[in-house]
Symmetry: C2
């Protein structure tokens, strides 16, 4: 894989994602733009709600760039949310303070008639405008990552009406009426390809598919509602944008991460914090670059515990193509100085 890496260009993260093992692996962190940063909170306090921040290009550009200025990460990730896709489809989505997202749920095939992918690009035009602004402002060695939620994970919010503890409504629909439920998944496959294509056309160089709730499904349902739609998205994207690195992040997939890596066609796999490093090296990294996987709570804890685990990750995975990241998003109580310590460890050993 190293050969193809050399022709990609000079941005370090693109070299790693093309298969090159790097002496100093690139680093970015999921949710690196966010509430743990005082400069983010300063922007956030002047907007009415979270979606306004996502949909106001100059603000989305600003908060996307903040962690790049502070830490010099190897990639910026568009400041946005996976629920802009249901919004783009016409579902009512609101973010209430301290309560998380609230959606008017869709729970049957009949409910799907209210959703329309045709105006998605128009409804999300300000997102792509933000992408253009970020792409123009980034330092030349820093890559821009776009993203979407995977159909299964986005569907959990659309069907449950928000975050869920047990995901019983969506699982019951999927188990009782898999053909009907698949119409929602199909709609999300189309919308996700469209949304990611628009981001790529506006300037993102890498995309990541977040499948936060992949891990709650039994194997048969995982294959049908996680692997199969992801494979269709990857195929659709690569047809339109050959060579774009596609990072799949099937959180909680455990054992099934291997099938996911082999069968979806994603070009890179993101590892959650629970993923065994030995398994990741021996069974995943032999086939494709890996990204991960420090527990975000270790970043809150900081100190020797964080340093030891970060070094363990580096020593296990940096012999192959590897991007350092967390195993899930940064949490708000993270001290910003711990992030600097982590960057120093990854950069300087």
């Amino acid at each position: 894989m190293e050969q193809s890496g050399r022709v990609i260009g000079r941005k370090p993260i693109l070299r790693a994602l093309a298969g090159e093992a790097m002496a100093r692996p690139p680093i970015w962190l999921m949710r690196q733009a966010g509430r743990y940063l005082p400069e983010y909170r300063a922007v956030r306090k002047d907007v009415a709600d979270f979606l306004e921040l996502c949909f106001t290009p100059e603000l989305a550009v600003e908060v996307t760039l903040q962690p790049i200025r502070r830490y010099g990460f190897d990639a910026a990730i568009l400041f946005s949310d996976i629920l802009v896709v249901p919004h783009g489809l016409g579902q009512k989505v609101a973010f209430r303070e301290g309560e998380g997202p609230v959606l008017e749920p869709v729970r049957s095939v009949a409910d799907l008639t209210a959703l329309d992918p045709a105006p998605l690009r128009e409804r999300l035009a300000t997102v792509y405008q933000a992408v253009r602004g970020i792409a123009a402002a980034l330092p030349p060695e820093v890559a821009l990552i776009g993203f979407a939620g995977s159909p299964w994970t986005v569907a959990t919010y659309m069907v449950e009406g928000g975050t869920s503890r047990d995901f019983s409504t969506i699982r019951l629909w999927a188990y009782r009426d898999p053909i009907g439920f698949e119409k929602l998944i199909d709609l999300l496959v189309v919308a996700t390809i469209e949304h990611l294509s628009a981001q790529i056309e506006a300037g993102v160089e890498i995309v990541q598919l977040f499948d936060t709730w992949a891990g709650i499904l039994p194997e048969a349902a995982f294959r049908r509602f996680v692997i199969a739609p992801t494979r269709r998205i990857v195929a659709g994207l690569l047809l339109r944008h050959p060579g774009v690195p596609i990072i799949g992040f099937p959180r909680g997939a455990g054992l099934l991460a291997e099938a996911y890596a082999k069968e979806t066609g994603v070009t890179v796999i993101g590892l959650d914090a629970m993923m065994s490093l030995g398994f990741a090296r021996d069974r995943l990294q032999v086939s494709l670059p890996v990204q991960g996987n420090l527990d975000p709570l270790l970043l809150v804890a900081g100190g020797a515990a964080m340093a030891a685990q970060a070094r363990e990750i580096l020593s296990t995975l940096s012999g192959g193509p590897f991007v350092f990241n967390l195993g899930h998003g940064i949490v708000p109580q993270t001290p910003p100085e711990h992030v600097q310590q982590l960057v120093d460890i990854v950069r300087d050993g």
Copy 2:
């Protein structure tokens, strides 16, 4: 393993747990006594709270026996809760309607001084009295299962103060001060051995360790806070009660289930609904009997989807030592007639 199975006795589940492959595998279901049963709700409505039900022997006996009368399961499981152990240690535990358990949290080594394992058996005397009552009332072919939560899982409730979404308080304590946090784990190892021994002395024939939240830990922490204390509990129990079957249920362990099965000494492993059946057969069942793993939501859905998955589980796992169960507890909205359909499938194919 089959040889040892034959000498154990005639109760079918004890034969399976001793290693015998059964043409008709035994079946019981986690949380088989509970709110989905009208006869349970009739008892429950006359008691002030959930703990009163656990601590009133004649009521605990009655609700434990209800699903045996209705379905003829191969095992009864003591009606109780994993949080009786913190209660037995002197922590304040309450169950509030619709809110789940609420505990006065322990969050430091200093907080541990309020907890005392010495009076545990006395504080939980009514639990063991219930065990004696159930043991006396069970049909001769039905075995009695006792249980406890694993130290890590019980600690999550003790430290977070109830159920948690992100388990950040306990993980931060464990990461920042592993030696201090281990004192809580050590205390729970002692209390768990004591509580399970008392149940065995009162008449339970099998014990299960529920580790509902095993799956949230990175590998190093999983080894330290899940595998190591479980190994100590198993060793302590087998010293006092040689030959007692000990079912470990490390929910969400995924890949790490194999290390758990090999290193803890549990004699049986419970599989969650996310566990791949092929992996369970090829990597776990070759070493020890397995139990599981129908998604409880498939039991709510019922019909063809449930039947197909139940048959898939049976055809994959009943060639070796196997007990049919769910992958997690029955949920309250389960139609009781679906449970009967499942029992019929397992019994009659």
